[in-house]
């Protein structure tokens, strides 16, 4: 008698556990940058749609690429930057999106749609954009800084922080020499070598993760950093000034895309549409002050947010922005050039 009761109660318990843990039919696997999609947004999506969302983070595009290329992880959503998007589209790595399921795409400003890396937005929707620019600590540097050549002056030696990104650094050198950021040929690389040889010994810190640290700590006085970092610094202290270089600069666009191996395309498209909602997009911008391409969201943002020059460049400045194209195998050569100059 006792044994039967035990067995029955065990079965009952199992059944209960089974029902409470009955996974919702929908699972969404997101692979994205750290600190880019607020947890509150993800939780809200999960609650509203009854989807179980798991988030895995990466710290760089290439980290994502190398894991995907090695066959690791079945992700439904990835968040590549524009030059990686281009490569992924070319290599037929992505699942096309159904525009009919993502009506909120209409909220995006036209200048961020139908760009060269994904014509017709067949595979991606824009998530956030951002610029690269100059931040100056006006307490420490009194002279005016208008562009790269003003930053990399001998008197600023040991006082500069730049992004630890060979592609970026080479792009700035190209711009300073009047060339486009994507005109990466052996000839041009040789042309800009003297510039790099002049610039790099002046740099004190290379940091792509948190260049604002060196600026806030007073260890450096000027830096060429991401727009998001600039916006945070400007919000922190009035002594910091943001300048888009006169020679022009790089604008990056991060998009949401669906890999071919995705298991849940439907939820992925649902998520994309969710992100493009004005109030959701606004929430993202509030936490991470990048360049929001969503016009409907901008309409909901405060004047202070919209006027942060590091977040939102002027129309004049926008004209000087250039997107990165994929340069494939030459990435390695650029790495070598910068590493060689660093090691001297």
């Amino acid at each position: 008698m006792k044994k039967t009761t035990l067995l029955l109660s065990a079965l009952a318990a199992f059944a209960l556990i089974g029902t409470t843990h009955a996974a919702p039919n929908k699972n969404l696997n997101i692979y994205c940058w750290s600190e880019y999609i607020p947890q509150a947004v993800i939780d809200r999506f999960a609650k509203e749609t009854g989807t179980k969302v798991t988030v895995e983070n990466y710290a760089s595009n290439e980290e994502m690429l190398s894991k995907l290329a090695a066959g690791g992880g079945a992700y439904d959503i990835i968040q590549p930057s524009e030059y990686v998007m281009e490569a992924l589209v070319k290599e037929k790595f992505l699942h096309p999106i159904d525009r009919a399921k993502i009506p909120n795409l209409k909220n995006i400003a036209p200048q961020f749609l139908n760009l060269a890396f994904d014509p017709g937005n067949k595979f991606s929707v824009p998530f956030m954009a951002g610029t690269v620019g100059i931040v100056v600590n006006t307490d420490l540097i009194k002279t005016e800084i208008r562009g790269f050549n003003d930053v990399f002056k001998p008197e600023n030696k040991g006082n500069i922080v730049v992004l630890d990104d060979a592609r970026e650094i080479v792009a700035w050198a190209l711009l300073a020499n009047g060339m486009g950021v994507n005109q990466i040929t052996d000839k041009n690389l040789n042309k800009i070598k003297p510039t790099l040889e002049k610039w790099l010994p002046l740099v004190k810190v290379y940091d792509s993760d948190s260049p604002k640290t060196a600026l806030l700590n007073g260890d450096v006085a000027v830096g060429v950093v991401w727009g998001g970092e600039g916006a945070i610094l400007l919000n922190k202290n009035k002594k910091f000034r943001w300048i888009i270089p006169a020679e022009g600069s790089h604008m990056f666009i991060d998009s949401l895309a669906i890999p071919k191996a995705a298991k849940n395309v439907e939820s992925a498209e649902e998520f994309m549409n969710f992100i493009l909602r004005p109030e959701i997009s606004k929430e993202i911008s509030e936490e991470f002050p990048y360049l929001n391409p969503n016009l409907a969201a901008r309409a909901l943002m405060t004047k202070k947010e919209l006027e942060n020059p590091a977040s939102f460049p002027t129309d004049e400045e926008m004209k000087k922005m250039q997107l990165f194209k994929d340069i494939g195998t030459q990435a390695s050569e650029i790495e070598e050039i910068v590493t060689t100059l660093k090691a001297q």
């Binding site: 895995e56 980290e63 948190s210 700590n217």
Partner: protein, 281 residues
């Protein structure tokens, strides 16, 4: 146990007077030095605990006192979940590494295997190989050769692979000073090799095993790169969640988490210490 005591450096009779003065100066010097080393180890810890009460979000300058990060931490299920995963992976890794390392060290010491030299070199490879290489090659191994899903198991295997050499080396060093006659004496008294190992060798090796285990745990807890390549979405550990946080400034909730964990560990250690003390009485 009388036999094991010999290996534990017991409190022998006090040193004779003529050596005492010289030794005690040395002792004072060493004691002060150790205190300084401890202070050095804890300087950043003190700072991060203080900053866990910093009211500023961007935790670089002090701006005022606040306990809001502790409150926020309690509801931050992502961070807490990641921390829990870290503890699970680190604990499992420590257990496996200690087993592999201790048994390996003992076997290599006691027997002459034909490829002894090669083994001695092989165990250093996970230590010297750059983590990205190990991570990527293990990823390929798991996914394409073994067809395993990425998750806790793959992470634990990966972590164990670079942790167990630390245990092995530590135990080997301790074995160096082992008096072989001890084991033989035990066996002469009728013990099987197993019993001799368990009752004579193992207690002798304990300090090295504990050291190795502590090192394994520490290494696994903070491992980032290898974890990146071998994790699944359910097994995200703390370093994976934390690494990109620097972009918007490391969240002071992290400081709070670390402070709580350190406090809990100390509390646990003290409790064990006092409980042990009571037992001895």
């Amino acid at each position: 146990m009388a036999v094991s005591e010999t290996f534990h450096g017991p409190e022998a009779p006090p040193l004779s007077v003529k050596n005492f003065a010289g030794i005690s100066t040395l002792g004072v010097f060493f004691g002060t030095w150790t205190a300084l080393v401890m202070a050095f180890l804890y300087i950043p810890i003190a700072l991060l605990v203080v900053f866990s009460f910093n009211s500023a979000r961007l935790n670089i300058r002090w701006e005022g006192f606040s306990t809001k990060w502790y409150e926020a931490l309690l509801s931050n299920h992502v961070l807490l979940g990641a921390f829990q995963n870290s503890l699970i992976v680190a604990s499992a890794t420590t257990v496996l590494s200690t087993l592999l390392g201790t048994l390996g060290a003992w076997m290599l010491y006691r027997y002459r295997f034909p490829f002894q030299g090669a083994l001695g070199l092989l165990i250093f490879i996970p230590m010297v190989m750059p983590e990205v290489l190990m991570g990527v090659s293990l990823l390929v191994l798991f996914v394409q050769l073994l067809h395993m899903p990425l998750g806790f198991t793959t992470m634990i295997i990966a972590h164990t692979t670079f942790c167990f050499p630390f245990v092995l080396v530590a135990v080997q060093a301790r074995l160096q000073g082992l008096d072989p006659s001890q084991e033989e004496a035990a066996m002469d008294l009728g013990a099987t090799p197993f019993q001799a190992f368990r009752k004579v060798i193992l207690p002798y090796l304990m300090p090295a095993i504990i050291s190795g285990a502590l090192m394994s745990f520490t290494l696994s807890l903070d491992e980032y790169i290898v974890s990146v390549f071998t994790t699944g979405s359910q097994s995200q550990t703390l370093p994976l969640k934390v690494y990109g946080m620097a972009k918007v400034g490391l969240n002071p909730q992290l400081n709070a988490l670390s402070a709580i964990f350190i406090a809990a560990t100390f509390a646990f250690a003290l409790a064990v210490h006092f409980f042990g003390k009571k037992k001895n009485l």
